[in-house]
Symmetry: C2
């Protein structure tokens, strides 16, 4: 999660909401990135999607059953759906997102018996640091208006 | 929808589930693609995500409020979440997907007052042709086993 928080801070360099993610296989980091929506002008360039794509390139296929994704914020519906679509092995996230979280807050896409895959989830890891980063970012944006 | 169905057929050339999508602005096609998950080994390479990314590149930003996405099958949670994340103007889809559809079947991410955007949806357009393409594909795959 330390590496994911470092990634989140990098998003600030280009004015993106600070969310970072890291993918691991057997404890080894195989991909890391952060939210680049504003930088790339790409609505799908959330940290999680970028890291899932990079991880798939490393693994050599779209099934990521051996991969653990560590992300600073609870994934949104798009990203949570991508975890299911990639048959992800495990998700670890920091802060819950009561506004758009889809891994326990608004939805729980990671554990829906109607879908074809369950993702094991660990949450609340270094959540205070993630929340603080986000709070500072949004306070700064409000002040700049 | 004719163009989206043509795209869906192209997915068959590389063994991908036949789903196609087209993005339009003011009636003009600005992007078209099909499911390339197997071809690219990318869990996020569904037709919708590829077209949203291409459309954002054409529009020059991640907000796609002027864009209509036409897709042959009801979007999954990942793709439906991406429609919300891109503030899409309108969605037109063909066949409903009772197994994974997230625009009315299992979920309705396009119309959830808790999320920050509503996507107007038209559905059932040339649904029989889309269903037939998918049925042929899955029948062929079963026969090959």
């Amino acid at each position: 999660m330390g590496l994911a928080l470092d990634e989140a801070r990098r998003a600030l360099e280009h004015g993106d909401v600070p969310v970072g993610a890291v993918a691991l296989v057997a404890g080894e980091v195989i991909a890391a990135d952060h939210n680049r929506r504003e930088e790339l002008g790409d609505p799908t360039a959330h940290a999680e999607l970028l890291v899932l794509r990079a991880a798939a390139a490393v693994v050599g296929g779209w099934r990521l059953g051996d991969v653990t994704l560590v992300v600073t914020l609870e994934p949104c519906p798009m990203c949570a759906g991508a975890l299911v679509a990639s048959r992800l092995g495990r998700l670890v996230f920091g802060a819950a997102d009561p506004r758009a979280g889809a891994c326990g807050s608004l939805y729980n896409l990671c554990s829906d018996p109607r879908l074809n895959h369950d993702v094991g989830v660990t949450h609340g890891v270094r959540a205070a640091e993630s929340t603080e980063l986000l709070a500072q970012f949004f306070a700064g944006r409000r002040a700049a208006r």
